[in-house]
Every structure is written in C-alpha cells, then in structure tokens.
C-alpha cells in the first residue's frame, strides 16, 4: 500500500490535496463539506480585521479555459469568523487560516485571532495592496514580505506559510525572504493580474476593472514558480494554479510541491475533484512502484 501522507512543517495531512483560499471557505459548514469530500487540509477564505462586502458584480468573468475574478475579499471579519472556525474544527483535517491585512500590525491581530480559534497554520495572503504602497501588492517586495513573516512568526506558535503573488520578476527573492524570516512554508501561486474586455460594450467586464486570472490557463506559470522556488528554498512549497485532475497535481509535485491546492476546478468539477486526484495519484504510484508521495517531490528538478 502506497502512502499519500504529507507533512508540511509540523502539520500532518492524510493526503496532499488542499482546498485553495477563497473557494467556498466563507463558512464553517462548507469547509466541513470539503473535508468530508476527501481534502487533506482546507484553507479558509482570506479573513481581515473588519467585515467587507467585496466589490459589486461583475466579480467574475468565465470562459472554458480560465476565470478572471475580482471578488474584493468579501469576508465577515475576524470577530464573526469565530463561529465559522468552531464549526470547521469539527472536521478532522487541518485548517489553514488565510489572513489578509494592509499593515503588519493588522496581520498580527488577525493571525493571533485565528490561532486562538484553533487554526493549525496561518497562510498569509500577500496579494493585497499595501496601505502605503499606492495599490502595489505587498508580496512583490522582499523586504515587506520579510517583515510581515518575521513579525507574525514572533506572535503565533502555529506554522506560518506565505502565499506568493506571481505578479513579480522577483519571485525567488521573495521566497528567500520568507525563508530568512523564519517562514515555515510557501504557497505558490495566487492569481495572475489580468483584465477582461467586452467587445460589444467596449469596456472592462469586472466592476474593479482588474482581476486575477485562475484556472487551467495559469498552470504553466504556477509550475514554473514552484520549479524555480524548489531549487532555491528548503522550506516546503504548496503548489496551486490550474489544477483540474491528478496529472496536473502530479506535475506540481514533480516540480517541487509537497502539497497542492485546488481552486477554480471546484466550480465545474465539484468536490469530487479531491477523490479523483487522490485515486489518480495512488494508481500512478502503484503502477510505478512508488511507496510514498514524498519520494516524487521535486523529481523533475533532478533530471535536467
């Protein structure tokens, strides 16, 4: 019998599939449903200090090959999220609490709250604009990322993962900054900055104009990001971006990911995607005499 058991920092997953942040994770009950569907861990919707309604619709543009979304981080705020975490903890899988903030102080407040609520790890969403950064994503600046990770690490006991934005040519530098600051792992990638235009209406579709590209179209970018990071950092990497089936997931593992997150595929494939990925991985391992999924992590890097 082969094993899908995966260890991320001190967090033990029964299998390497995870729910990506922003997908269904608004309520404790939906996180429980995802866990019951076979995910090895779940990530909450990104939670902030205050309740946010997010942007007005349209917040999503859809085609067969990709989505562009600008939800605007709707969330009930960290105080109301206590109730959801209480429910979510009834599920047996680890919970990664995704947090966002516009300042280091707020990152610390939300992360501490989520630890208090029983989260097993923190996932820092660094794709948000910096309060003083003129709308610039925080995650593109290695110094800012270093400081956020270091301060949050100093305030919580649970492992801290940093979710990186692909919208920078300094991705590896940012990854190294996470490691240097004591971060326990890296999640790559968040969505790729994008726009959708309506020809008939001669205007951008999303109310926020800019959005984030996700789905099958971003997989090659996610793979490249994980591959590059794997060669440079030694902390675990979680791969995310365009994973639709077990092959996509296996590509991420071979590029260097210890675990994978599934986002957009939840929309069209539903929650069955977790069992599909697990079954495909097990069959592949069986057919190729692989005992543990960890034996496949990063193998594509060794066969240059």
């Amino acid at each position: 019998m082969n094993s899908l058991r995966t260890v991320l920092a001190r967090v033990v997953l029964d299998n390497p599939t995870m729910l990506a942040s922003g997908m269904m994770g608004e309520t404790g009950a939906s996180l429980t449903k995802v866990a019951a569907a076979g995910a090895g861990a779940v990530v909450t919707k990104s939670v902030g200090i205050e309740p946010r309604t997010g942007y007005i619709n349209p917040t999503l543009f859809e085609t067969d090959g990709y989505y562009v979304n600008a939800m605007g981080l709707p969330n009930p705020g960290m105080d109301a999220y206590a109730e959801e975490m209480k429910l979510a903890r009834a599920s047996k899988v680890p919970i990664f609490a995704s947090v966002f903030a516009a300042s280091i102080k707020d990152f610390i407040s939300v992360s501490s709250k989520m630890e208090e609520y029983g989260a097993n790890a923190i996932e820092l969403n660094l794709s948000c604009p910096h309060a003083k950064g003129y709308g610039m994503e925080m995650g593109i600046d290695p110094d800012i990322v270093h400081d956020i990770v270091k301060e949050v690490k100093g305030s919580v006991k649970i492992p801290v993962f940093a979710k990186l934005t692909p919208n920078t040519h300094r991705l590896v530098e940012v990854g190294l900054a996470v490691e240097k600051a004591g971060g326990d792992g890296i999640v790559a990638i968040n969505t790729v900055k994008a726009i959708a235009i309506s020809v008939e209406f001669r205007r951008p579709v999303l109310s926020n104009i800019y959005g984030g590209l996700s789905g099958p179209a971003v997989k090659p970018i996610g793979l490249r990001s994980v591959y590059d990071l794997y060669g440079k950092v030694s902390i675990p990497i979680i791969g995310v971006g365009g994973i639709d089936d077990w092959r996509d997931a296996m590509e991420y593992i071979m590029a260097g990911a210890r675990a994978v997150q599934v986002g957009s595929a939840i929309g069209r494939k539903g929650l069955g995607v977790f069992e599909d990925v697990k079954t495909g991985m097990r069959d592949y391992m069986e057919a190729n005499g692989v005992k543990s999924i960890s034996d496949l992590v990063g193998v594509a890097n060794e066969r240059k």
């Binding site: 997908m23 608004e26 009950a29 939906s30 349209p58 859809e62 939800m71 709707p74 929309g267 539903g270």
Partner: protein, 258 residues
Amino acid sequence: MNGNEVVRITEVVREGKGVTTLRFELDRTVRPGQFFMVWVPGVDEVPMSASYNGKVKGITVKDIGEATGALCSLNVGDLIGVRGPYGKGFAQPHGVYLVVGGGTGIAAVMPAIEMAKDRSIVDVAFGARSGSEIIFEERARRSSDNVMISTDDGSHGYHGTVVAMVDEMLAKRSYSQIIACGPERMLYYLLQVCKKHGVECQMSLERFMKCGSGLCGSCVIDGRRVCADGPIFLGREIDEMDEFGRSKRDETGRIIKL
C-alpha cells in the same frame, strides 16, 4: 460553455405589476430550473432564472431595486451580458406531478410545467398576494389541464395562501412529486404540507450570489452552494438544513436572521 456572452433583446413583455420578460437568442442548452447571471453594464450582475428555455431564451424580472429596475427599463434591441446556465435543473418526476409557483417564483417553474410529456400528468398551483401579480396563467393552461390560482386578497381564484390551496389539492389527487419555487416563507410551510402528505418535493432556493458558478461560497446554505449544488434541492435535503427558513448571509458572509 457557460462563459460570458452578450445578447440582444428581441422582445419585451410586461407580464404584470412590475414584472417584465426579456427574450433573447442564446445557443445553449438550458434545463428547467437553471439560471443565468445577467449583466447590466455600469449597474450590476444578478442571478435570474430562465423563464423560457427553448431556442429563444427568456428571463422574467420583478423590479425591486437597482439592477432589476435597470433590466425592466430595457427595450428591444438593447444588449445585456449573460453567463450560464448555472445550477442543477428540476429532474423530470415519474408520473403525475404538481408544480407550485409563488409570486416571481412562477417564472422559475414555468419551464418545469412545459417539460411534461402531456397535459394530464402535470397540475399547477400559482399564488400571489393579488390577481395583478399572477403571471403566466394562460401559458400554464396551454401545458396543463388543471391550473389553480390563489390570491391572498381573494381578487382572483382561491382566497388564501397557495400553501393552503396545495394542502387541499394534495387531499384530492395523489402526486408522485411536487416542484416549487417562491419566497422562502412559502417554501417553508409548503415543505411541512409535503411532509404531512408524504410527498417528496424539489424546491428552488435563493441566496445572495456573487460568482454564480460554484467558486466563491457566498451563496452557501448549510455548506451547500445554492448556485452549483442547487438551486434545486430535494425536500429531504432541505429538511435537514439548519439555515432554511431561519437565516441567510449578507454580502460579507455574516449571518442574518430571517
């Protein structure tokens, strides 16, 4: 293919008090009970059930706010954005079934009446506060031998709620299933009546929707996505929901008591 498309309005029909149907061509298969996300540029994009699902599709809109008001003021030749259809449709019941529509919910169940293979296997119960709010009565009569109407004020048909009328109908004829859409209060009491008579039902639920396509989670009820796992749920699934008839969530995800 569910992706964004822009369609031209080919027909506008005023159905009743504040209710307007917009027709447009869209080459996609739409099952009864499915819905579209409908975009009025510069205003909003909102969920709308397909009230016509043939070659020429249609939505039937009640003007209750900004987006619905903008939709109701459109004219033939105007453009709207649509994506979808989303959600699961109503399953064709085996044998004789009853379709119940309350208020604007009538729009969503109309295609479920027309999916009947013949007029004798589908009965209809429509209800509204007053006669001017009853839509699609003639259209229903073209597909069913037995169309019953109720109004709260007694201005048309049975004087009372549609749920009270259905309670009486269930005592007279036995149905394999009930298909329903309407305000949650109506569905809540209808579910009790279905349970009393031991009839299974399929009901279309509503929750606040953002993405409409099963991603964001803003529409969840008891952890199920109304847009993707619904909007049609079975009575026995709904009966197990703690939030049904009790609470919903606002745009931020906070709980609001009903």
